[in-house]
Symmetry: C2
Subunit: 504 residues, 2 copies
């Protein structure tokens, strides 16, 4: 490499490090807002978040960065770069092209708005007051539409949003994938509803002391291989995971005294996200590649741990005794009953508490609403009615309040339109990866039955975690499973599992 190119590469690396540091600081500020920041400090905090985001945005859209990228993209330069630097150039180019189209002031306003909106959403949900949240949502949609215009609409306006969460994903492709799911899951769901072998679930809803739940959450995380010197578990209204760096990955859960499964599977879910972030290779630390490669792949890891492992029979054969020790009075049923109860399939109102089968219908509802918002110009004021209509149509249930209806999710308050499909993409990726794992690790379920979960974490580190953003979702799924994403694996997994549980 020439001295000039080396010089450019050094300045480029410094800039990437700065951007990553802003990301880390903002990550702490958001985590703090959600885990106990005093309410009266919200306004000043929103200002600080807006200002830092603005500064980060400036660094990410600086014309100098554009010049460095152009230099590093010269064939004779990029061919001499390491794999990491080369991928950094590609990824940064993508972000840069996307970002320079947004005026910094507009972006900063948007960040202040969404930061305030999240607190307002929390209050509105608590108070069952949609009118309180609606003007914020309305503004967020207006900003998002401005962004779509600036970025340039793709095949549909909504496609422009999807691409930010799952690179290359389109409405056409999602229609196909979700169509494939719907076609098979509707009859399966009907067969399950008609089965005379319905699990008894009442015992799950006795009183489960929060402290004992917390103890078990910490125990299970440790079993999964969560490193407590590189992370922590806290509480928040809406559980989340945030990887500040591989040495500081924070997850939250929510303890409901009347439902032992909420924190239990929530913790395992966020723990799956955390294992991904904790095991990214050291060489990526301090770069913008040091994070999960897409929302869909990230979600595949939380789903894999929550559903494929955490709701499997071998898992509970091993761990049910430990859970019983925490709740000897409540859990006096055999493990088989517990396993069946935690895998009950039943249409419900709340996405995050839905079973792994009907969950996909919750996602399809949100996907269709988001398509309507951006492709058909539907307004925020129409959402409560729309929400209820779709729930009635797909799940046969209707919320009699906003908190359990249109206000249930945090996502829209943060402007995360196009995010929801990731959850079902995650389910599909997870099922397809599990199929490969079963072939490559024949003793898989015996190991789970013995509580040997670390080899699974190691397998996933080897195939996925270590790479961070060094591989694209498509590269990962193809290199691991030999095929591109196919909904048939999820369908077949669900059919096999629930035919057994419901004796279909």
């Amino acid at each position: 490499m020439t001295t000039s190119a080396e010089n450019v590469l050094q300045r480029f690396n410094e800039r990437i490090g700065q951007i990553k540091s802003y990301e880390e600081a903002l990550g702490v500020l958001y985590w703090d807002l959600r885990t106990g920041a005093p309410r009266n400090g919200m306004e000043a905090r929103s200002e600080a978040i807006g200002m830092l985001s603005g500064q980060m945005f400036k660094l990410s859209t600086d014309p100098e960065l554009g010049e460095w990228l152009a230099e590093l993209e010269q064939p004779e330069v990029i061919s001499g770069l390491t794999e990491i630097h080369s991928r950094l150039v590609t990824e940064t180019r993508k972000d840069y092209d996307r970002s320079i189209k947004i005026p910094p002031k507009l972006y900063q306003e948007y960040v202040v708005l969404t930061s305030q909106a999240e607190s307002i959403w929390e209050e509105a949900k608590e108070k069952n007051d949609y009118a309180m949240f609606e003007p914020y949502l309305d503004k967020i949609i207006t900003y998002t539409n401005q962004f779509i215009d600036l970025w340039g609409p793709k095949a549909t306006r909504y496609d422009t949003l999807l691409d930010a969460y799952e690179p290359g994903m389109t409405t056409a492709e999602l229609d196909r994938l979700f169509g494939g799911l719907r076609e098979k899951l509707v009859p399966l769901s009907a067969a399950i509803a008609a089965s005379p072998h319905q699990p008894e679930t009442g015992f799950l809803h006795q009183t489960y002391a929060k402290d004992a739940q917390k103890k078990f959450s910490l125990f299970i995380l440790e079993q999964m291989g969560f490193n407590f010197n590189s992370g922590r578990l806290d509480e928040s209204v809406h559980p989340f995971a945030t990887g500040l760096n591989p040495g500081d990955v924070r997850i939250t859960t929510r303890y409901l005294e009347g439902d032992v499964t909420s924190a239990l599977f929530g913790t395992i879910h966020e723990g799956g996200h955390a294992l991904y972030e904790q095991n990214i290779m050291k060489a990526l630390i301090g770069t913008t590649l040091c994070t999960g490669t897409s929302m869909g792949i990230h979600e595949s890891q939380s789903r894999f741990w929550e559903n494929m492992i955490g709701r499997s029979k071998p898992f509970w054969n091993r761990y049910y005794g430990d859970l019983q020790k925490q709740f000897p009075n409540q859990l006096d049923v055999p493990v088989e009953d517990f396993y069946r109860a935690t895998n009950v399939v039943r249409p419900s109102l709340i996405r995050i508490e839905a079973d792994e089968l009907t969950y996909n219908l919750h996602i399809i509802i949100r996907y269709e609403i988001e398509k309507l918002l951006f492709n058909e110009g539907v307004k925020a004021s129409e959402l409560p009615a729309l929400w209820n209509d779709k729930y009635k149509e797909y799940l046969g249930v209707v919320a009699d309040n906003y908190s359990e209806g249109v206000l249930q999710d945090v996502h829209w308050s943060g402007g995360a339109f196009g995010y929801f499909p990731s959850y079902s993409l995650g389910n599909m990726y997870a099922a397809q990866i599990t199929d490969t794992m079963e072939h490559q690790v024949p003793a898989l379920w015996d190991m789970v039955g013995r509580g040997e979960l670390h080899p699974i974490k190691d397998w996933l580190t080897d195939k996925i975690y270590q790479y961070g953003k060094l591989r694209t979702p498509a590269e990962l799924i193809t290199s691991i499973t030999g095929k591109s994403l196919d909904p048939a694996y999820l369908v077949s997994y669900l059919e096999r599992k629930y035919s057994d549980i419901y004796r279909l």
Copy 2:
């Protein structure tokens, strides 16, 4: 004002807001580091802190800011400014002149260093390993000496450091103030030691459950008027208070199961700092004037609440019953015994656990060591011996380990040389202010005896808290008490109080 001046004022205000936002973000990052951030994330976190501090430093030392200041300082402009803007210009000029002398790269290195050093100090203290900390301390001293050279030494090199914490304070003045204290406190301390009426303190060191201590800490904060919607209480090794903004003021305490007084008075102390920060006037929010005016005045508020109120007889006449309810088995002695036990005067090793009389000797030791470091070129390697010699000479006690000796305080790991004198300045300010309060509020001690503490908070808000940095320490003490700082008030307060307790 001309359009040009108005334009400059607007840009100046925006810049001040940006600087304040960086301060807030850094405040959260430091708070987080001290209250439970995972250890393995330390390195990346230090990078982020260093980068943000560097960015803030750049904004604070930008030549453009210098030009705006010069414009706003024009007599015809500054005379038309509001009091707040005028004071902002004065304060910013002072910081600007001090900051532009430090090269940004040097400052950023220093911030990364001190951020790492604090974690290393924590570990070194835990492991009783001075050698582990020494190279960090050595580097911090070297950097500090570079800073003194860049700022320009004053009458002595150490004076340059003092000025940062207590504007205008000098070694000569401190020698006078501390001399006045020492002269009276040494014979008083001797008379106390010779008294046959020594309080019995054994009962304070039974086992006091942490949960009950925490409950009482929260109760007392609420009684003092701490607003829990504008702040929170956490735990850390070294208790501290941090005012992110008046709506988010965070304090920490440390619960020792074998010593009920540690968290008790620690909480009241940090609570005093918090009341100051929570009650700064709204008009200052978002500006760099929105904080305490000096370390000495800040400390006067924590000391006032901890000692003048929290260790007074009327206070315990009111609250002892509540404390007994938490610890009925441990606290079976009369209130008079409890009052005397919590006011025992006894030379000891640990500054933060020292009584309010000998505490001043702990400070004088640190003051003298810091003078030696910067005025006589003493090295970090000489500190352990120096420390022990001074403790032997002033307090008659010597630590047999580093953790209770030279490693006991966090301050030097953060480069806070010149800070320690603030504590005794705080004691002197507090005594002088209490004297005025007693004259202006004749029912003061009756109110304390009835648990009416909010009027005291209101009086202090009126005289001190609301102004933030809008008044200098000298302006405050003169406007409140009609006199400049005089050690006689503290001496007289201590003589009166301890003559009674020890029946001198």
